[in-house]
């Protein structure tokens, strides 16, 4: 089993309606893949399916056991816990202990004793991204990771991704902005949009 993810002929659905079909790609160790596509095309659904939160309609997703980590739109931060308590919790859940490197990478060290509820939106997002580092997982699955980040923080994030790739990790990122990652491949999921045949038939039954 190679590291990374291999997706073959995948069809996924949201709320019972197919959104993407016939999607195949491969993500090897040390690679990053950026997903593009218009709003509502199914990028989030694709990432949630790969993360295992919902089953695919058909097709296969292959990856090694316990190598994926998912970060969605919400950061999963508890407002009443401090920054370091939030990170320590996730580190312990994933069986790690050291959070200092993650705090350092996203410049959160000066904020580590502040309640997470007192952070700005961008600082919260940086905390959410720092969580990826403490998990120690190889494949990062990121949904719009740069929302509410400023230019400097986006560079910080790109640097973290680059370091992760250099260490043999990989990343699957749905984003609309240019991260400045020259080595990342881009996959436009627009052409894989599922045919809306069923919906036409559904309407036809009532006409």
């Amino acid at each position: 089993m190679p590291m990374g993810i291999k997706v073959s002929d995948l069809t996924i659905a949201r709320g019972g309606i197919k959104v993407l079909e016939g999607l195949s790609f491969q993500l090897a160790a040390g690679q990053a893949l950026v997903l593009r596509g218009p709003n509502g095309v199914g990028k989030t659904t694709l990432l949630r399916t790969i993360a295992g939160l919902q089953p695919p309609v058909s097709g296969r997703i292959e990856s090694a056991v316990d190598t994926l980590v998912y970060a969605g739109h919400a950061d999963g931060i508890k407002a009443t816990l401090t920054v370091s308590e939030n990170l320590k919790f996730w580190a312990q859940v994933f069986g790690n202990a050291d959070i200092s490197a993650a705090l350092e990478a996203f410049e959160l060290t000066p904020l580590s004793n502040r309640p997470a509820g007192a952070l700005s939106a961008g600082q919260k997002r940086r905390l959410g991204l720092a969580r990826l580092l403490v998990t120690g997982r190889d494949v990062w699955i990121l949904d719009e990771p740069t929302v509410s980040l400023d230019v400097q923080a986006v560079e910080m994030f790109a640097a973290a991704i680059r370091e992760h790739l250099r260490q043999g990790g990989s990343a699957l990122i749905a984003t609309h902005i240019n991260l400045g990652l020259d080595e990342a491949r881009i996959l436009d999921v627009g052409p894989y949009r599922a045919k809306a045949l069923e919906i036409d038939d559904f309407d036809g039954a009532f006409l």
Binding site: T80, K88, G95
Partner: protein, 218 residues
């Protein structure tokens, strides 16, 4: 798993965490009942076991929708579901945390509240024992209800309607045990039934809760 338990307990203790909510509700019920039924202590002492059990049950119900709703809203539930913890362990820990922050304080406060309702002296031991045996079942059943309704806006009403019938057996045998104890009768049968219900729910319901939670996260 321990980390999750510690986090949940810490969250409950922090501001807005809801620790003491059930206890305060229990206190209000027990203090107001004597005003409602009048000052006859014989009447009070005969209804005390039932009132105490009912108060404990409603106090438990009050905090159920917090079990998963807060984690669902801020995205932690998605992240926990993709973490290397089995879903069954997550729901068990959540139920345990709910019992430690709601059920256990009720058990410990029950003797004090028994005084307010002039519970007969013989009734204290069976009351505490019955609450100690019965409240874990309330938390586990409640966690199942919370898992069913997670993600629904204002799911609290549905949650109460779903959970109340499931609480009935626990209430019947728990209150029966406390009542028989207060009357000085043998409590073995309701004790065994209550213990059986609690063991059964703890053994089976986490699997059901985990299954519905997986469906709800799709």
């Amino acid at each position: 798993m321990i980390a999750l338990l510690i986090r949940d307990l810490r969250l409950a203790m922090r501001a807005g965490g809801g620790f003491g909510l059930g206890l305060a509700f229990f206190l209000i019920v027990v203090v107001l009942v004597p005003f409602g039924v009048g000052p006859q202590s014989t009447l009070l002492s005969s209804i005390a076991p039932g009132i105490l059990w009912l108060g404990a049950l409603l106090a438990c119900l009050l905090s159920l929708d917090r079990i998963f709703a807060l984690d669902w809203e801020d995205g932690s539930l998605d992240l926990l579901a993709t973490a290397p913890l089995p879903m069954e362990a997550i729901v068990t820990i959540k139920a345990l945390a709910h019992w430690l922050t709601t059920g256990l304080p009720l058990v410990l406060a029950a003797p004090v509240f028994g005084l307010l309702l002039s519970l007969p002296e013989a009734g204290y031991k069976p009351l505490i024992l019955s609450l100690f045996l019965g409240t874990p079942a309330l938390s586990v059943i409640g966690t199942f209800g919370a898992a069913l309704t997670v993600g629904l806006k204002r799911g609290g009403l549905l949650l109460s309607l779903l959970v109340l019938p499931l609480y009935v057996p626990t209430l019947i045998f728990g209150a029966e045990m406390a009542r028989r104890g207060a009357a000085g009768l043998d409590v073995t049968t309701p004790l065994l039934m209550l213990a059986g219900i609690t063991c059964g729910t703890i053994a089976l319901l986490p699997f059901a809760s985990a299954a519905v939670l997986r469906v709800n996260l799709r």
